[in-house]
């Protein structure tokens, strides 16, 4: 998978231009194929699937949930079926997707303390900071402090719940619909839904933010 590292420069690169981790990934891929665990085509298809998803896909789902209470109920109860309705069929394998809703009383944020588990099947690859040791260790022990650094002050009137996705589920946060968006259409609303708000470290963007001082 040499394309992953194109354009980067890595100390200690070998003559073939690959860094340590690229060489390692290539060796693992070669072994998987030669031992018949999977085919090279299957690996390529999986990479293409993940790369085809982005936060814009999650934003579409969130915006639909904001405008359609019945859809929101289905999304929380049966996420796979609800995503399929919008044209996002999920692979019928683990990990599975779960959705948690932020409310005026309860705020959720997601971390994977062990590695970098993330709802890639809907949002694509995670941001680098999500994989950092600093986020992984601090988000779980001082979530309010971490959110403050992201610019979100969660008041004492809101309970904070951290979700550590250690196993076979991946969590998508359904952020709160911002105030002042009552008349907005679904596509406009989707533009307010940021990647970070679906991890839970921020809220969705306010429509007033575009106006300085607003």
């Amino acid at each position: 998978m040499t394309e992953l590292h194109e354009g980067h420069s890595h100390p200690g690169m070998e003559e073939d231009g690959l860094g340590y981790y690229a060489r390692r990934a290539q060796a693992i891929e070669t072994l998987l194929v030669s031992k018949g665990v999977c085919t090279g085509d299957e690996i390529r298809q999986e990479m293409e699937f993940t790369a085809s998803r982005s936060p814009a896909d999650g934003a579409r789902v969130v915006a639909r949930a904001w405008v359609d209470p019945d859809y929101k109920a289905r999304l929380l109860a049966e996420p796979a079926a609800a995503l399929a309705e919008l044209g996002y069929p999920l692979p019928d394998t683990t990990p599975q997707l779960a959705v948690v809703e932020n409310t005026p009383e309860a705020h959720h944020l997601v971390v994977c303390t062990l590695c970098s588990c993330y709802p890639r099947m809907l949002l694509g690859p995670p941001p680098d900071w999500y994989k950092s040791l600093a986020y992984r260790s601090r988000a779980v022990s001082d979530p309010r402090g971490v959110m403050r650094e992201f610019g979100l002050e969660v008041g004492d009137d809101v309970a904070v719940t951290v979700l550590d996705s250690t196993a076979d589920l991946r969590y998508l946060v359904l952020p709160r619909r911002p105030a002042g968006t009552e008349g907005m259409e679904e596509a406009e609303l989707a533009r307010l839904v940021t990647r970070d708000s679906m991890i839970g470290v921020t809220e969705a963007r306010s429509p007033a933010v575009a106006t300085p001082g607003g």
Binding site: T94, T113, A159, T161, V162, D164, T166, A167
Partner: protein, 100 residues
């Protein structure tokens, strides 16, 4: 494998550092929480990670802990929570049913 616990049960996380791969972070080992939900039954990742068949499959629970119980000097509300997914073989019934 049949689920041994149900939502509402008070459970403690076993301590351990078995060789190889496991999904129960050190910070939660020895802590006591409450089962929030049974998430399903899944092949055991500790076996899968080393080429095993993942059997017997393990029930997976979403377990809720009070942050003030998990972290000394936790900065937040007393009812702030941690939800973490833990496989059944890492859980045991809590002795006196008390969640601190």
């Amino acid at each position: 494998m049949m689920p041994r616990f149900a939502a509402g049960d008070v459970v403690s996380v076993k301590r351990g550092s078995p060789p190889g791969h496991f999904r129960t972070p050190a910070y939660i080992q020895g802590k006591t929480g409450r089962v929030a939900a049974l998430c399903g039954v899944f092949p055991n990742p500790e076996s899968l990670a080393h080429g095993g068949d993942g059997l017997p499959e393990q029930p997976l629970y979403r377990v809720e802990f009070a942050q003030s119980h998990v972290w000394d000097g936790y900065r937040g509300r007393a009812d702030d929570k941690l939800l973490i997914d833990i496989y059944q073989h890492w859980l045991e019934p809590a002795g006196d049913g008390e969640v601190t």
